[in-house]
Amino acid sequence: MTTAGAQPFVEQYGALKGALPGVGLPWLAELREAGLARFASLGLPTPRDESWKYTNLRPLEKVAFGTPNGEAVSIDRLPSLLPAGASENRLVFVNGHYRADLSTLKSLREGVEIGSLAAGLERSPETVAEYLGQIAPAGGAAGEQPGEQPLLALNTALSGDGLMLRLGRGAKVKTPIEVIFIGAATEQALAYHPRNLIVLEPESQAVVIEHHVSLGGGATFANSATEIELGDGALLHHYKMQAEGPETFHVSTVHARVGRDAHYDSFGMSLGSRLSRNEVSVRLNGQGANCHLNGAYMVRGKQHCDTTTLVEHLVPRTSCREVFKGVLDDEARAVFQGRIVVHPDAQQSDGHQLSKAMLLSERAEIDIKPELEIYADDVKCSHGATAGDLDHEALFYLRSRGLPEGPARRLLIEAFLTESIEAIAAEDLCPAFLASIADWLKT
């Protein structure tokens, strides 16, 4: 039976399936059908689902989303986060469609495959088949596993285009690969479902930057899914800026598998959308695997920003650090759910998690739910959370030196957020992130 909230999307699938990337590939059609079946039976998540207790998608259900056509939108200026010349590879997607006319790809070399997923499905479908839907399984019957992700299932059914990056053994792409996702809607609300696949074979390295923005001011629902496979000794820096318009919904589901001595380093900044959720699941499945899941968010008005993470330590000697910092004003709400699971064999796991929120208004709210599940005995795991107003002593100190209250507050908020930018390894990216903080504080 299809639940009410799911019905419009199920109908969309019927209308769209002939035009989705990889049409004609039987295995992919099967994957999509399985995703659809699963989504239809689960429906859109509701607060009755444990993982969605604090994030209510009712506002999303009320919007009638149409299906987009990216080709029709004209783009004058690309919203790049990088200084000119800092990136050799830039992919642009408008409403889930790849735009070759706006993208720049350096000619491919041996062992380096950078392009759109649709192109990848044409060029080497067998490679894609090996990973797509395998790192983030979304098929199967409902109730099969605890971490059901209906929106991932929906993405699997309706997957549009996105980044496909595959690096062969030892390949290193030095300059950042910038992927710009533009949601362009005016009166007609639009939903699109970007799908990214990143496969780094052993000892390869890349920097990927996702940039999500809006054009046109209309309502969009970006339901993104990303699968990441990091082979032994691989290194991925994965940065994200979500600065979509105030009428948008943004949901992102990331699944990463991290191999022996590989490192997954991610940082996301969220400041857009009326409702956003970043859900990241990492499986540390090789000894010495390591991840950093960091983020910052700035929300105001009635914005809602959800960060949900799951880190699984599956083998001995893996480690993870998570630091999420946010500033909330007005009636904004944030959610931080951080789950760490240490499996029985995973001795000497090292997992730390920290959520720090600055609440600038009495009506702002953050709900924090750390969960540690530890089945091994020789581990170091911790979590911490703080939520509070600006430091009044610091504010007085600044004012006593002549800074008026407004600038003094801005300086303190900026300092709070800037600390999380300092860990970004891609130096070219820092100015854009810092500017986004300064801009947010100005308005």
């Binding site: 430091d391 009044h392 002593e393 610091a394 007085f396 100190y397 600044l398 004012r399 006593s400 030196r401 002549g402 800074l403 008026p404 209250e405 600038p407 003094a408 300086l411 303190l412 900026e414 300092a415 709070f416 800037t418 600390e419």
Partner: protein, 249 residues
């Protein structure tokens, strides 16, 4: 410069200052000494406008204007400076940024052009050299990880940069070894000028060996119980504050 008239201040409904009268002329340094709990820090904070202090009676005139009606930043820009007893740590704000923001905020208030980064660096390097402060202290976050002495030196650096008309030093000597104490006193003495006044608040006389005051007042039980010249400080060092406990009660 400063006229405090019959000042009564309560904190959380408890009267701490019970009628203070104090006049400081331009160029004078006055010391306020007293036992713990006598209201010394309250006097310092009331001058800079910290929250939580209620004036129930009396007034404070600074250059003839009602000081208590001004916001903390306005007082600062008008030339009032408090050297904190416990300077506040501000993670994430580089000391240089903080100093530059402070200097330029005050310049803006006075209708002067702001200093650009180069101009500011030139000024701050000069002051740092004069005060014998390590350059590296400029790069670190404001007071974060500073030793007690470094924090107090950083207060002196701010004072030197902001060039106040009236400086209030709240227990600047507390927690300092003798070398740091001397360095701080040198910083203060370098700023002595005919148009600059200072109010030095201290528990101990030893700071006053290095910063010689024009007048000394004894604060006990929320009142000034005795005033005199610089010799009064020496006398107190010998006799202690015991005799004033009864006066104040």
């Amino acid at each position: 410069m400063l006229e405090i008239k019959n000042l009564h201040v309560t904190v959380e409904d408890k009267e701490i200052l019970k009628g203070i009268d104090l006049t400081i002329m331009p160029g004078e340094i006055h010391a306020v000494m007293g036992p713990n709990g006598s209201g010394k820090s309250t006097l310092a904070y009331i001058m800079t406008g910290r929250e939580g202090y209620e004036v129930t009676e009396g007034e404070v005139l600074y250059q003839g204007r009602d000081l208590l009606a001004m916001a903390p930043e306005e007082r600062a820009a008008e030339g009032v400076f408090l050297a904190f007893q416990y300077p506040v740590e501000i993670p994430g704000v580089p000391n240089t940024t903080f100093l530059k923001e402070a200097v330029n905020a005050q310049r803006r208030h006075r209708g002067e052009d702001e200093l650009d980064a180069m101009q500011f660096l030139k000024v701050v390097r000069q002051k740092v050299k004069e005060l014998g402060i390590a350059d590296e202290m400029l790069k670190r976050a404001v007071n974060v990880g500073f030793s007690g002495g470094e924090k107090k030196r950083n207060e002196m650096l701010q004072m030197a940069l902001l060039e106040p008309r009236l400086a209030v030093l709240d227990e600047t000597d507390s927690g300092l070894d003798i070398d740091a104490l001397k360095a701080v006193a040198d910083g203060v003495n370098a700023l002595r000028a005919p148009d600059r006044s200072m109010l030095v608040i201290t528990h101990y006389q030893r700071l006053l060996d290095h910063i010689v005051p024009d007048k000394v007042h004894v604060l006990a039980g929320g009142r000034i119980v005795r005033s005199g010249g610089k010799d009064l400080a020496r006398e107190l060092e010998r006799t202690g504050y015991a005799e004033f406990a009864t006066v104040a009660a």
